[in-house]
Symmetry: C2
């Protein structure tokens, strides 16, 4: 599934484009001429505005409005956390599905928000002016501060404006080539309306993940509510086109691709290939084994491990294929050639004199990154403390220390514009499972001991008497941070409350904080800063050569791209772009993950075997695009993006037009399932379907 | 630990040397002149003969005779299977240790043998004559058949000779540059005499594995018995030098290094880097997680999983560091340069005309290897059927089919000379744990479905109705192959017994056999054969350039190498070559794997804190050298090799004289522990220690 990958691995991105064949275009630089030239179709700014304001950024996915009363369509896997939140050992909503038969039965998703992009502002000139003449480290600091100030000023200004308060976020496009402010209207209150059973939403499970042909109804329906507790009024929404799209038809994807690395340098890609990806994969594979074996110890264990296991398996598949893409030496050879050609441009262009060799600068920074990699990932990025309780503890400890500081002096994630998200996550009353906490914490402590070595200071400090198991057990059993009320007290109590706390997880977070901050500082000053500086130089060169005729790397901000409904050729075999209901039933088996839910078996005879189920297109998408609407030229919703094929994973590094395909749910099966399987008549009526 | 790695991954080795700085020399081509030149020491053939016949090849390790009555010294980790065999849920000998207070209390190790190399014979000319003029595929077949015939003839001849029956094994040195017959005296009856607790044998566990400084008493004592059931008479043995070696002293390691890949081509190393190692590591890491989590479900689970988990963690550490070595582009660049220089020799030397470009031939074969890799590893190499019961079933099914064939027409492992080992493994009454079988089998079936895909024929065939769990449970619960008597019946009953069997594991092995054999045939004909042919051509070139001034790659056959006792420089830090008892106790903690056994704590005050414990040398060793004697110039045992430092793992590809170090137990602590901790006075007396 196209889950967005968390930025841990991807934190250090910077540098120039290479093979941008397709393109995740911004709305403000959408290439209308290119579209006209290639497809003979023009879209106007009204079309763009309506699609933009119909598209939603969830905390982890994309979605779209499908009714004027705030009804939201997204993937099932984007709502799993909410389904989990309302599940109990008796009632597993992930497996059983859910349908609110009335609005007052809709379930609050406490950790979810819905953001709609209302406006954008180019602030490149302001940032450039602020850092002019500074050295790398000072420039890096000043850039961050300037962006924080711009965000804050934007939010303050919006409070006075007619449209109401907006969330303002700084966006870095083209690796520092452009800076923007993106301004969102945020819906804080999002509720669950409908989700099918996971058995049909993720039919085929991990084995079928990133595969096509596919038969998944990977959908869920949410609703945005206003601050008055009433359904939001959303005049801009996408009507469904019941018949779905045709083969070869031009279609658009509007959404929030999470991140791509198409502009990274060879040295950066080698760091991913040699260090980040193999190490991450080794740890993740072991954790997968632990999860699976834990899940076999009982029905409740199986339930609570299901969601983290699904997420992990998805990420493993993604990163495994990313590693394969990087191990193909042809990719690095092409990149090297492109770098050589850009270097030649520098040498030949007097206007670029004095720019030096920014690729060599990045190579040097990556040498340092390799040295810092282990302590940075284990101490600061959480690889050594894989625990929700620890994450709470760190947020509380750091929040107390950071909030009293001047806004621009804080760690990025505790600046005013970012605080609401920290607070929301911290205070959401999501369940914490002690058994699972012990598993992940013990695992990560054990691996920290393995990778840093038994004689590393942090390992001696924590594990001189205790084994990882003993320590994890003591910490988890002794902590009260699983209780949202306790967290709220500590959050509101500030530094005094933190100082007074004897919660063992708070104590641990306090104990490791100085070391973690120290290695983060090294990373920022000695890796991030020189890479940022070099990447900006490369961006200058690239702009001179390409302008904005290539799209910027994905940054989990709103993009629009176009493509057509099509299959591909896999070896000697032609893959058709549509699947149909008939084959779903042929492929079904008695057991997970190929078991069809009873609700479907009960109405099997009423379902049209020729209904289109899933489909593939050559739109250029990546993780974060999950839940994106697939839109026709008239702005109607014809499908729901939920995945890519296996070749789409290499899309992180380049778009292969022969093989890379997006995968969507066809509106045909969405409507048929709502009608015949779930009999969701109110829902259909609201969507304008009789 | 220097466990020998099973050949699954290493099956396809072939090709030319590169940086042989050290050298695992054969006894028949030992460079006495080089030794004299570098160290001013000469060793004569009497020395070589005595050391050779004092050195033992166990089924998994090296060992040496240390008394005239068949007493054998090896590592603890080499005897874990035997300790396991005699353990029960009440009495865990791996953890508790063992000392036979009388000879009739010594415990039979049913799966162990002790081979002593009695003679060698160069048969290169015979093999060359047999394959002269044949194409690659025919040459590959004929070579195997010729070697099988030579082995058989050698064994037949030995039965008539004075020394008694010998085991004859064909050995390929220099990737087909030389073929030899190695002739062993085999002791079939090997018994356990002594083993310390695992807590001290493997103090520091996986975290300390491949680390130095170290404090492990990784020793065990076995005894060889004759066919008459009496202790073997072994006039050639190594006396212990109680004081151990001095820093800087010249020392020898005699042993059986398992395999190195120093002569592989770039294409072969890339195959390891891109395909074999990452895939193996991903699966192994997950299995590790499953083992660990399974071990937490109870004391008995913890016991039965301990040995496989230790072995797996060791292999993971090895292969992870191998991958790191291959990801260092400098290694491949050096290899590429060496290949270019050898290519130039071909071009310049009329005697080598017509040899073509064997490196390109290997590159082509590796393309095919990549295509075959998944089905070959899952179907034939056991990655899809990770189960001891399945291994039994396959050996029974194939044994029945192969044994009636002409010897040379059989699959290699069922030829006459190899059959005793198959039979021994099959009939040894080692315990089979159903829970563990289900775990490993379900895991491997699940990964087979993931990697081959749900629509692969074998996956459809096996998992169309069942989940991996269900199938594994049914197979394991239904099979009676855990009973050695049942296996014996089926083995002796031949094809008729196999045909009549309804054992579900036998049925499974029958069901997949045709597909597995088919992919093996493709692998042999389309990968192995062209690589063998090309490697022989490269070997010819190498011989012209280097002669035998470089040692052949390791092949788990007897080698001798020399070095000195020394530490190394790790970054800015000097690592001393000796550790002492004092620091062991300082480093001890209450919990595994840093918990010192009670037997040691009880006598702590009697132990001399200055006793040397472990030591490091720059001898060139790899897995398979575990248990090797460390020998001084007078032929006395001064230490017991059990590991290498972390840099020694890259020794698979090249020897780095700055960093690569072997790690041994010092005789000082061996004797002190036997005296003061274990009070093994009879044993000490037999070793000539009062």
């Amino acid at each position: 599934m196209r889950r967005v990958l968390l930025p841990a691995l991807l934190a250090l991105l910077a540098a120039p484009p290479v093979f941008s064949d397709a393109g995740m275009w911004t709305f403000h630089d959408f290439p209308r001429e290119l579209l006209k030239r290639e497809h003979g179709v023009d879209i106007d700014s009204a079309w763009l505005d309506r699609v933009r304001t119909s598209t939603i950024r969830l905390s982890n996915c994309t979605a779209s409005f499908i009714s004027p009363e705030g009804l939201i369509l997204t993937n099932h896997h984007c709502s799993e956390a909410c389904l989990d939140e309302h599940s109990t050992s008796e009632q597993n909503l992930v497996r059983a599905g859910f349908l609110a038969r009335a609005r007052d039965k809709e379930l609050k998703c406490t950790a979810q928000v819905a953001d709609v992009l209302m406006g954008t502002e180019n602030v490149t000139a302001k940032v450039s002016a602020a850092i002019h003449g500074l050295d790398d480290k000072a420039a890096n600091d000043t850039r961050k501060k300037t962006l924080a100030q711009l965000e804050q000023a934007c939010e303050d200004a919006s409070k006075q404006a007619a449209g109401g308060a907006l969330k303002c976020e700084a966006v870095d496009l083209y690796q520092g080539g452009q800076y923007w402010l993106y301004k969102y209207h945020r819906y804080d209150d999002v509720r669950l309306v409908f989700a099918p059973e996971r058995g049909i939403a993720a039919f085929g499970g991990d084995p079928d993940n990133f595969q096509f042909p596919r038969w998944c109804l990977d959908m869920s329906v949410l609703r945005a509510y206003g601050p008055d507790g009433k359904p939001a009024t959303t005049p801009n929404f996408l009507a469904l086109r019941a018949a779905g799209p045709q083969a070869g038809e031009l279609v658009f994807v509007s959404g929030h691709p999470g991140s791509t690395q198409r502009l990274l340098t060879v040295a950066q890609l080698q760091m991913l290939r040699d260090v980040d990806l193999p190490r991450w994969l080794l740890r993740a594979a072991e954790l997968r084994g632990r999860y699976i074996q834990f899940g076999k110890t009982g029905a409740e264990a199986n339930r609570i491990v299901e969601d983290p296991l699904n997420g992990l398996e998805n990420s493993i598949k993604v990163r495994r294929n990313q590693l394969d893409a990087l191990l193909d030496d042809r990719l690095l050879q092409r990149k090297s050639a492109e770098e050589a050609s850009l270097r030649a441009k520098i040498a030949a262009d007097p206007a670029l004199a004095g720019i030096g060799d920014p690729w060599a600068d990045i190579t040097r920074a990556e040498v340092r990154a390799r040295e810092l990699s282990l302590p940075y990932s284990f101490l600061e990025q959480g690889a050594g403390f894989n625990s929700r309780l620890f994450a709470y503890a760190r947020a509380l400890v750091r929040g107390a220390a950071e909030r009293p500081k001047t806004n621009t002096d804080r760690l990025t994630e505790y600046r005013e514009t970012a605080l609401p998200r920290v607070q929301r996550r911290l205070l959401a009353p999501v369940p914490v499972y002690p058994q699972l906490e012990k598993l992940t914490l013990s695992f990560s402590l054990e691996r920290m001991r393995e990778w840093l070595g038994p004689d590393a200071p942090i390992v001696r400090q924590l594990l001189s008497k205790d084994s990882p198991d003993t320590l994890a057990t003591r910490l988890v059993d002794g902590s009260h941070l699983g209780d949202a009320a306790v967290r709220k007290q500590l959050w509101e109590g500030g530094q005094a409350a933190i100082d007074a706390s004897h919660d063992p997880m708070i104590e641990l977070a306090r104990e490791v904080d100085a070391q973690a901050r120290a290695v983060r500082k090294q990373q920022e000053d000695e890796v991030e800063a020189p890479i940022e500086a070099a990447a900006q130089k490369i961006a200058r060169v690239r702009f001179k050569v390409y302008g904005t005729t290539v799209a910027p790397d994905a940054t989990f901000t709103l993009r629009l791209n176009f493509g057509t409904v099509q299959g591909w050729r896999e070896g000697s075999q032609e893959v058709e772009p549509f699947t149909h209901t008939a084959r779903l039933f042929e492929r079904a088996k008695g057991e997970e993950p190929f078991r069809i839910p009873d609700s479907w078996l009960a109405v099997k005879d009423q379902l049209d075997p020729q209904t289109r189920f899933d489909l593939s297109t050559n739109n250029d998408i990546v993780g974060g695009n999950s839940g994106s609407p697939l839109i026709d030229t008239k702005g109607r919703l014809v499908g729901l993006i939920f995945d890519g094929n296996i070749h789409s994973i290499a899309g992180d590094y380049w778009f292969d037009p022969q093989l890379n395909r997006a995968v969507a749910v066809d509106t045909q099966i969405i409507l048929e399932a709502l009608h015949k399987v779930y009999k969701a008549n109110e829902l259909l009526a609201e969507m304008g379907e009789k």
